[in-house]
Symmetry: D2
Subunit: 331 residues, 4 copies
C-alpha cells in the first residue's frame, strides 16, 4: 500500500486508449491535429482564451513559463520550500540564465502579499541588487495547501502593481480545484502562466503550460525547442492532455485522491502539520510509530525526524486509505 | 504514401506492449528496475561497459552529451549541415552555456580528419579565439551517409591527439549499423558518448545517451535533471529502449527502412545527390517532376529548388516503396 | 616604428590631466558628476538625446549593447570577419546567453542589405531555426573600410522592416567620422546603440556605449553591473571620455591617424587589399618584402601568407609614416 | 569628513607615478612586461608559487575565480551577507551560468565549519538537489571581521575533505593582513584562489586574482577575455598592482586605515555590533544621534534603523578620525 508519491502512479486507462488512438500518421512536433486543438480545449476549461504548450515534465513547464517573464538579471519571488527552489536540481538557474530565486516564508508553503512585500520592499532600486521580475506560487502548495481564489487575486494585484509576472506551479492544480470546488479559472486567478500538471493525476509524460498572454507563449515556443523539449511525436503528449480533460477525468481523479487524503486525515487528529487541502498529508509521528506503520505494509516518506508524508493518488484504493486511517488511529 | 520523415512514424507494437507492461508501481525518475538495467543491456550491445541515460528527444541527448565535454568558453567542431547547427533551435548554445559550433565542410555531411584540421589548425592558442573542446559527428549523417569504422577511428585518433572529446549523433545510428552490417561497437568507434536514437526507429519518446566514460555520465545525470529531462515515470522511457533492443528489433526495423530506401534508390539512377547508406534519399528532380509525384500520392520534402528528400521508416510498406520507385523511374 | 596596432598606443596628455583632475572625492560607481554629465555631452556630439554607459573594453561595450537587443534564443547578423565573431573569445555567447552569430560575407568586412537578406530570408520562421534579433555592423570595418551614411541608412531600413535591433561596433568610429568628414550622427545613422571607441584613440581604459533608445540603456545598466563592469571609481572612466570629446580631441586624433594611413597608402599602389578609409592598411607583400621592412625597423602583423597589416594611431609620428611609405615604395 | 566607503577613495600617489611610467609602448592585453612580472611579484608576497590575473573590479575577480571551481549545475557556499550574494547584481549567476549560492549564517558575516556542515550535510547526494562545489569566504568579512589563520585552516580542511574548491574574497584582504599582523600566506590560508583587492586601498581600477592552482588560472584566462575583462592596455592595471606591492605600500595603507578605525572604535564603547578587525565600524546609534553626527559634517551610511556604518580609508586624515571619535564620545 503505497503512499510515497503520486509522481510515479499508474497511467489512467483513458490515457492508454488515447495514446493508442494517436498512433496514426500526423505531422511531427506540435504540427499535429491534437496539439493544434489544445488551445481551444483549455479555453473551454478556463472560459477564456489561452495558448497551451505541452512538455514532458513539470520542471520544464515551470522553468519555460518563468523564462518568458524573467530576464537573466532578474529574480523570481517564491516560497523557500517551493519545488523550483528545492527539488528541481537548479533548473531555474539554467532556464533563466542565472536569474535568482528570492525566498519567502509563509505557513503551509503559501505566499502572501505581506510576505512578498517584506521581501521586495527593502530591495533598493539600483543595479547592485537583483530586482524581482516575477512571482511564482504553487497551487496546491508543496505542503498540500490550496490558495483560496481571493488569496490568488491579492497576490495578482500586488504583482500587477509592481509590474511583476505571475506564474502558478500547478503540479497538483487538479487537486486544488477539486478541493476548492470552484471553477478552474477561479483557482488559477489572473496568472500569466500556469503549469497545469497531469502526470501525477493519471498521465504518462505530459504537462501543460497554459499561457493567458499570447506574447509569452510565442517566446516559450522557441525556448521549448531550444531546451530539447519539443518531442517529434508530440501528438502523444497532446493526446494525454485531451484524454484527461475529456469528461473531466482530471477532476474525477483529483477528487478521488483528495477523498482518500481526507479519509486518512480524519484519523490524524491533532497530528497534522498542515490542513489537508489536496492529496498530501504531513503528520507528526515518532520513529517507532513509523516503524509500526511500515511493518503493516504502508509505504511513505519520513518528513524530517518526527513526521511522515503520505500522498494519495488517482488510483489509491479506498480500502488502502481506510486501512491506513485505521492504522494511524490505532497508533 | 508518406516519405516525409521517420520522425513522426508509428510506434512499434513491441513498444506498446512494453509500455503497458511497465504500468505497475516502481520507483520514480530513474530509480526503477528498467532504468537500472539499461547499462547492462547496452553493454551487451556494445560489448563493453557503458552508462546509459534516457532522454525524450535527440536534441536533449546530443546537447546533454556535449555539455559534459565542452566548457562554456569552448567549441564543438561539427559539420556545417549538422543537426545541432541547423535544426535544434540553438539548443547547443543553451546547454553549453554559449559555447560555439565550429562548422566544417565535407561531402555527404561527413567530417574528415583533414576538414577538422583545416578548421582547428589555424586557431591561435590564445584567449582571443575560442578553442575547440570536442568533435561531434553524425552516424548516419544528415544526408544519409554512413561513416565506415575506419573513418570513425581516424577522427577519434585526431580527437585523442588534440585532447578533444568525441560525440556521435546517432539519431539514425541503427540505420548506419544496418547499412554497415558491422558490430554496433565498430559503427560507434571509440567515441566518448553516443546519442543512440530510437524514436525514428519505432520508439514513442525515448532516446539513449550511451556514455563510454563514467565520469561524463555522472555529470550528465545532474544536467539532465537541471534541464527538466528527468521524467518521473522514467520507467516508460527505459521500457521503450529495452523493447527495441530485445531480439534486435532495432536492427530489424533499420534493415527494413534501409531496404526500402535501396529499392527506391535503384530507380534514381543518376539523380542521387549522395550515396544511399541509410534510410534517406536526396534526389535531383524538377518542380514539375515533384508535382507529378505528389499528384500520385507521394508525400516528401522539397530539398532546395531542384531536389527532393525521401525518408523511409521502419514501417514503410514495401508496396509503397515499390510504387515510389516505379513512379520515379517513369518520370 | 610600430604599426602593429592602435590598441596599445600611449595615452593622450589631455586624458592624463583629466584623470588627475578627477582624483577628488565623489560618489562611487556611476553616481559621480562626470558620469552624470555624459548623456548631455554625447547628445551634443550626436545632436540628439542619448544615454551613455562607460565600460573598460570594447568587447564589453559590444556585448552589453547586443544583450539588450537579442534574446538568448535569437541571433546577431554580422560579418564573418567581425570582431565579435573572430576576436572576442566567445564573449557574445556569454553575454547573450548562447545566442548565435549569423555570419555574412561582404567586401571589406562590410555588410550590405543584400548580404543580410541572403542570410536571413531563407530562415524558416519556425522554432527549429534560430531567428535573427539584431544586426551588428562595424564602423570603420575590421578592414578599415567606412560605411557611407547612405549605406548605414539602407541597413537600418532593413533592420527596421524586419524588426531587428541595430548595433554599431565603433571601436574605430572616430576614424570613420574623420574619413567621412561628416557629422557623427550621419556616420552612426539610426542605430539603436553604438559602441564608441576611445581606447585606440588616446584613452586609457574607457569606451562608451551610446544608446539612442533609453529602454535599452535601462537594461544595460543592470547587465553592466552583473558582468562586473561597473567600476567603483567610475569617475576615472567618465573623465577620459570627457577629455577626448572636449575640443574635439577625438577627431583631431583620428584625423592624424588617418592622415598617416593615407601617407602610407600612397606608396602602396596596386598592393592594397581594401580601400584605406580609416587608419588601417592591408597590403599584399611577399615574405621577403616583409623581412626587408622588419629589418628596417618597422613593426606590423602578417596578414595571412602574402600580406601585411599596418595600423596607424593618434600618436604615429609623421616621419615614421613617411619612412614606412618610402620603404614600401622602394620594395 | 567622509566615512561612507573606501571604494571611491583617492588614488595613491605611487599609483599615479606608476601609471605614467607605464605609458610607453608595450604589447597589448597581458603580453606586457609588467603583467608578465606579476606571478613572481605575488609569489614573493605569499612565499609560494602563484598565477595572477588582473581585473578591473572585485566583482569580476570574485566571479572569475569561482567560475573555475563551480560547474553550472553546482553551488557556492557563502555567508548570507556576502558581497557576492548581496551586492554584485547577480554576477555569480551570470559568470557561473546559473549555479546557486547556498547561504549560511554566522556571526560577523564569517563562516565556520559548523555552519557550512549544517548547510551541506542535509543535502541529499542526488540530482534533485543542487550540490555544493566550492566555498567562498571573505577576508576581512562584510562586517569588518578577520578570520584567524586557524579559522581559515579549519574551513580549508573541510573544503578539502568534501572535495570543494575554496575561494577568498579579499576586497579588504590588506586590512585583514594588517589587523592579523601575520604573513599574507597565513591570512589567506590554503585557498585555491584569492581575490586580492587594491582598489579600496589606493588603486585606481585594478584587482588581482591570485591562483594557487595553475589549472584554475588557465581556465580563468579564457573566461576573463570572454567576459570582456581583458583590457588592451593591461599594462596600466599591472602597474597599479606593482606600485602598491612595492615597498609594502598596500600594508602601510591598510595599517593607516585600520588605525583610524581603531581610533574611532575606542569611542564606541558598548555600541559596536561587531569587533573592529579591519577598517569598518558598525555602531548602534539612534536616528537623532546620526543627525547630530551629520550636522557636524560626518558622512556615513545608515545601517538599518538604529545603526551606522563608518569606513576608513588609506587616506583618512587622522584629525578626521579623531574628530569623529570625539563626536561619538559626546553623543
Amino acid at each position: 500500500m503505497q503512499f510515497l508519491s503520486d509522481n510515479a502512479a499508474a497511467v489512467h486507462p483513458t490515457v492508454w486508449e488515447a495514446l493508442k488512438a494517436a498512433d496514426s500518421p500526423d505531422s511531427p512536433y506540435d504540427g499535429d491535429a491534437l496539439s493544434a486543438a489544445l488551445d481551444e480545449r483549455f479555453a473551454q476549461v478556463f472560459d477564456k482564451p489561452c495558448t497551451v504548450l505541452w512538455t514532458a515534465t513539470g520542471t520544464a513547464a515551470n522553468c519555460l513559463a518563468l523564462a518568458t517573464m524573467v530576464q537573466p538579471h532578474g529574480a523570481v519571488v517564491c516560497h523557500e520550500d517551493a519545488h523550483i527552489e528545492v527539488d528541481e536540481g537548479g533548473a531555474p538557474g539554467f532556464f533563466l540564465h542565472g536569474a535568482k530565486l528570492m525566498l519567502c516564508e509563509g505557513a503551509g508553503a503559501k505566499l502572501s502579499p505581506r510576505a512578498i512585500r517584506d521581501m521586495i520592499d527593502p530591495i533598493r532600486n539600483d543595479v547592485h541588487q537583483v530586482q524581482p521580475h516575477a512571482i511564482s506560487i504553487t497551487q496546491a502548495s508543496e505542503y498540500g495547501c490550496s490558495y483560496r481564489p481571493a488569496e490568488v487575486e491579492a497576490i495578482a494585484a500586488l504583482a500587477s502593481e509592481r509590474g511583476l509576472g505571475l506564474h502558478m506551479d500547478g503540479a497538483r492544480f487538479a487537486n486544488a480545484v477539486a478541493f476548492l470546488d470552484c471553477a478552474p479559472a477561479a483557482a488559477a486567478g489572473p496568472v500569466d502562466a500556469l503549469s497545469f500538471g497531469f502526470i501525477k493525476n493519471g498521465g504518462l509524460g505530459a504537462e501543460a503550460i497554459v499561457f493567458f498572454d499570447q506574447n509569452l507563449a510565442d517566446v516559450a515556443r522557441y525556448r521549448r525547442k531550444r531546451a530539447g523539449h519539443l518531442q517529434s511525436k508530440g501528438r502523444f503528449l497532446a493526446a494525454q492532455l485531451h484524454a484527461l480533460l475529456e469528461g473531466d477525468v482530471w477532476l474525477h481523479n483529483a477528487r478521488h485522491a483528495n477523498a482518500a487524503a481526507q479519509e486518512i486525515a480524519q484519523a490524524c487528529d491533532g497530528r497534522l502539520l498542515y490542513p489537508v487541502e489536496a492529496n498530501e498529508l504531513f503528520m507528526r509521528c515518532t520513529l517507532a510509530e513509523r516503524e509500526t506503520l511500515r511493518e503493516r505494509g504502508f509505504g511513505f516518506y519520513d518528513w524530517g525526524e518526527d513526521a511522515a508524508r503520505f500522498v494519495t493518488a488517482w488510483n489509491t484504493r479506498e480500502e488502502d486509505a481506510l486501512s491506513l486511517a485505521k492504522a494511524i488511529a490505532s497508533l
